[in-house]
Symmetry: D2
Subunit: 424 residues, 4 copies
């Protein structure tokens, strides 16, 4: 299903008057409204290829219909999202689920949708049919050098696929770890993992980044070899200048201060990328902003502050990606909600009066510092985000238009009700 | 694969001398050693039918071989465990995975293995092939009365299957809840769930128990309708005298004091059963006793104390069951480890000098109260547990014998390497 | 220091034009703006007498200056807050810290400030100078009946003080519990505590409420005898119709779903009162709304929904109180921030389109249900809250006026820099 | 109160027969019993000077009697402990609480008790009377360079005191952080703290260690500037070879895998010291081994393994110290319990069959790896620990002897009931 430009235009016309009234008010209220809108237009969030279908848990999966059955249909879905919000112009592929049979054709298709190829993701947390050696007890950490070599080669293969498509980064998420006390020699597992990562690093093109993701637990339930930012930073530092830490919001122990982690990593020049989602308990992979929107804002506050401190471009200096699981929502609607929540948090962070904030901090005026952040967070920036979409050619209300057009029903009509997209 | 009695005898003979030396020492050290051994012999832990195969997570599953392909083979596996440890003489079935085609034949088979049928488990957390209505948004809590009715009838059906086999309790674990703020009207969901449970309760035979299980989160990640012991007790109280709370060790928020919950529920005469496992992060479903053995002991300390206070039989007053997931271990070996850990904790709880403990408590002698518990916990009760097995006809070292006999290889020989047992 | 009405008038005049512009916009945007403003005017949040001074931790306390040295000065401080925001017209006293030497004079003073006496708080978590028996090992749970009796009598004494002042409820927060496994017989501690509470309950006037507060941990670090809502509800149910559960936001295990607890308690007609604060780790007692404003909104969403379902008055059906510790902020400024955050959350909850929400729930439209809540939360209700203050005679920006008037400096001038208010 | 050697001899004689019987059994059971006993004799755990009095929480403190009123009496208390268990031959001082008026005399006194001076502790988390500038908003991180300088000089002063007494390490625990979002510029706070630490580092003698302690939260409740091992390691690495990370068991987020952290730090050659205690919720500072003894064993398992891998002496390569708060127990009894729990865990770790464990790991035999650890943990090593005490001249049962001798009553007789030791 392709979105026609007249459909967006009609939708926007129907809402324009109301939007203009709001916008007029808020551009008067917000001093830097124009600058915010400009930055929002530039800001693109990559969609992972595996988040276009219904997700599930170990207890089950309740599939929806009309899910993409091929890489081409995944691109079509993201093309649809991007047409609606003009903020999802990138896809993050997962190998082996998304190996293109004809990379050039896929590249052209992506170009038609104005989608670029963000970070490539390898998979050594599952066994694939026909795979000679199993990852049951780890991959890059495995005691058997042959298993490590298989995993290294897989990652190099992923780089190769990425090169063919124009990607420039590799995300390594390792589920490697242990489920029981005693299972693993932590020190040796660390060293073996480092060796393996170094082998992959050597195959990394000079203009690529390697993003080393960490996670506190799951699917291993006693230890994870790259378990926190401290570990990831150790690896990234030992690997070299092309290696960075990737932060996934759901990958922390309870109560972790993620915004501080972000600030420290930016200060160390080692923050490489971001996986957005939300959670209440663990790696729940819920819609971004659906549970802790203030935390999301505080994280963006550090991102903006830290990138500005080094004069870095917000949109291009880090990899921005959603990584969520859509268990009870339409995946595309869920992604529209996530992208909007990210844009709102980003816009609010751009509203923070940084000079006043630093002044308050310099005088230990805690009350005022809090007021300054809350002033930004309590501001209703939805009209600014909508205006950014409008100017970029998107829809004033992407979710409403998605529903008005009966999009899911049309996708089901095209693809059937029993489709299952690859992914989690 | 059937264990021959000479195999156990040979094994025991080879270890007998060493065992006798240890036993002699410990029966001298432990005043009530004989009584402990007697109680251990009586104590049986039910094995859930779904724990005989390899478990997995949403990220994948690394199957082993030789897993049971039918209810008959599941009984054979538990028969094997029971022959080895003489403490696993019960099975807990799960419907629809374990619907017997010929209940009488299954009953006879179970009798041959000296296995009785413990609590029956219903399943409304997954959709089964051909099921008219989906549980995607809940079952007993569902907004649609037709879905609720379907789930009620399923539970009544489970009771029927249980009656045919000689079970006398129904465990209701509901995954019902919500994954996002706003999704659920908590009050209405509570009331609908209560109505549904009441309908099932009315179909419950007079000599049956209904065990209402609670869980803090997963697979729903915002709220669970029966989310903690407080909720479960509310339901059980409103339902009536046949309804009880079931405690699963992994179903709590971080840092919960489970032993206190157990004590309160026993005090309220509403503790009905127990699911054993262990965990570090969430419902990790690890081998019982592998992560927090002292907590397991403290729980048994309350169980023994609370049951004794009401003069109840330890072995028969509550439902005792393992509920774990074997992701990286041989399931049968894992279960042998769990049963042994449970027996050790139970034996240690039986060693606690309760008169002295109460005396210390009455004088607020915190140091001594701690010493009394630690005295019991630090005691090496393995010889007592081994002796109980020996007297009951089991193996001195079940795990060692399991390996000596090449059991898994034989099961693979019989059943193949690609078997997949039903379950999680 | 007394606030003069011209000072508020001048302040409001200086901000009026800007406020009117905002208000005009938002009263057009928000359909029920007038009703919201009306409800905000009625809504009063009690200030605890112990929160007017600098708080501390076990590691230290960094006192500020100008803190109230007497009950009269505490009333003056709350009078000041109330003059500024017209939403703090109640005080919650703590005995023995606030025993009035002349209750009638105190009542008159309170009336002058338009302050009523909210719930009375007893204290059995500390030993007072000259107290015959120690609460080191508990109070209402204590093994020694004489200690229990002392604690019972203290609570009855607190009721007596409250009667003299016109209060109509007693909050019982027990720190009773244990710090080590073995220390306490949980069952007996439960029963003794129940007996003690029953003795207090019998002394409770018929038109009073007893609010049974729960807390997961601290200052006891192994168990707390009234440790969660399930325990509190058990006690309140056994006690009778005058007993209710009190929820303090900081008194839960990590990740608890407090809004669901609130909904269940309202459904059971057993929610009695609320202690507002915020936290990231434990009972951090931070400024309400400073860490998890969306959670605060979700809680108010349930409060509004649950009270409306029974046709109850929002302002008067429950006890609303702040309970926070001001370690690094001016206590009065901190309280102004907390009250405003509560009002914002309440106002947003009043904006929720409940008919649409129920419709979304009835059709399992999770996406829309989330949108409806977010629509309310993302609305900038500050102009409505300001308007409510304005109409009630308060300041458009209480915090700004507090600072413009150099209030703290004046209080220091009156009271000195070395004052230490009683409290935590 | 001084312990006479005949008192220990009498005590030991009364228990000797029973002890010998146990020992005979266990030295036969445990292959390396002699080696374990030898290592236990060498292993000394430092007692912090502030842990000799009753601790408290922000809610109160229930003092005991007979607490040490001076540094001399603190040494006497530790001398008593050491005489009893021969394993507490070190004290860790806290400045300014323990500034010796006559260092030489104190050194001689310590020598008489066979006590050496372990790490010195600075205090910038409290304001001392007469201190020019306040640490309310931090010390080494403070925005005001004058406050930072004051804190730097204090630390250098602490080094000076330590030099005079023969200490060779400085522990820096900073409570610096923030309690509210917005309060702190994380990046600048990091950099300022690093600058300050570098100034202290430069004053550190060449043969000293600087131990950089981390803590997740408390007394700051939003962020802590040295908040986790990753931060601490970053600081220690930037500081240089004399700087190390110090691990306190209670300073982590819920569910943290501390043993893995220990292994990584040892692998990085940056683990410097250890603070022992136990906890269920936060930094509860309970008796070591009273809540999670298996975790304590797993930590020692990593310590032994990691130190052995580098051929390091267990007793001298790291700083071993208890850091606990005795709120409801006699402080000296509590410390005796802690030291014993540490010795038991250490002894059990020494029992682990490391060759077999590595073999199990190399073959991914998770079941066997778990069995090997449990085999060690389930062994009753109390007779070995008692024998080590006996050979070193201590008491077979220090706690029993402490009570038999009415020690606390005698201390109260000497010092009075109203003493308050400095400390938390």
């Amino acid at each position: 299903m392709q979105l026609e430009s007249y459909q967006i235009a009609d939708h926007n016309n129907s809402l324009r008057e109301r939007h203009q009234r709001k916008l007029a008010y808020w551009t008067e209220e917000v001093a830097n409204a124009e600058a915010v809108i400009g930055k929002l237009i530039d800001f693109q969030i990559a969609i992972p290829s595996w988040a276009l279908g219904t997700g599930g848990t170990r207890f089950g999966r309740f599939a929806g219909g009309g899910e993409p059955r091929s890489l081409e249909e995944k691109l079509a879905d993201i093309g649809l999202l991007h047409a609606l919000n003009q903020s999802s112009g990138a896809i993050s592929l997962h190998i082996p689920w998304d190996i293109p049979s004809d990379p050039e054709a896929i590249k052209q298709l992506a170009t038609q949708y104005s989608i670029r190829f963000d970070a490539m993701n390898s998979n050594t947390f599952q066994d694939q049919p026909g795979q000679p050696l199993s990852y049951k007890f780890g991959s890059l950490q495995h005691v058997d050098p042959a298993v490590r070599q298989q995993a290294i080669e897989h990652n190099i293969d992923v780089i190769r696929h990425g090169l063919a498509l124009g990607s420039d980064s590799l995300t390594v998420w390792l589920s490697d770890g242990s489920s029981f006390p005693g299972q693993l020699n932590f020190r040796k597992a660390f060293d073996r993992t480092l060796d393996s990562l170094q082998a992959i690093y050597q195959a990394l093109p000079d203009d690529w980044k390697m993003l080393v993701e960490y996670k506190a637990y799951e699917p291993n339930f006693y230890s994870t070899t790259i378990g926190d930012w401290g570990s990831s930073l150790l690896y990234a530092t030992k690997l070299g200048p092309k290696a960075y830490t990737l932060v996934d919001l759901g990958h922390h122990l309870p109560n972790a201060n993620i915004e501080q982690i972000v600030a420290i990593l930016l200060n160390e020049k080692k923050l490489g990328g971001f996986h957005f989602n939300d959670s209440k308990y663990g790696d729940d992979d819920l819609t971004t902003g659906s549970v802790k929107p203030y935390q999301l804002f505080l994280i963006f506050n550090e991102l903006v502050d830290g990138l500005d401190a080094r004069g870095l471009n917000h949109a291009t200096s880090l990899g921005w990606m959603i990584d969520a699981s859509h268990n009870v929502k339409d995946p595309l609607e869920d992604l529209l909600q996530s992208v909007e929540a990210i844009q709102l948090a980003y816009a609010q962070a751009l509203l923070v009066d940084r000079a006043a904030l630093e002044e308050a901090r310099e005088t230990n005026d805690v009350v005022r510092a809090q007021e300054i952040l809350q002033e930004a967070f309590r501001t209703d920036v939805r009209p600014l985000v909508a205006e950014a979409r409008l100017r970029a050619g998107g829809a004033l209300n992407p979710l409403a238009l998605f529903r008005q057009l009966d999009t899911r029903q049309k996708l089901i009509g095209e693809r059937g009700t029993k489709t299952i997209a690859t992914g989690l």
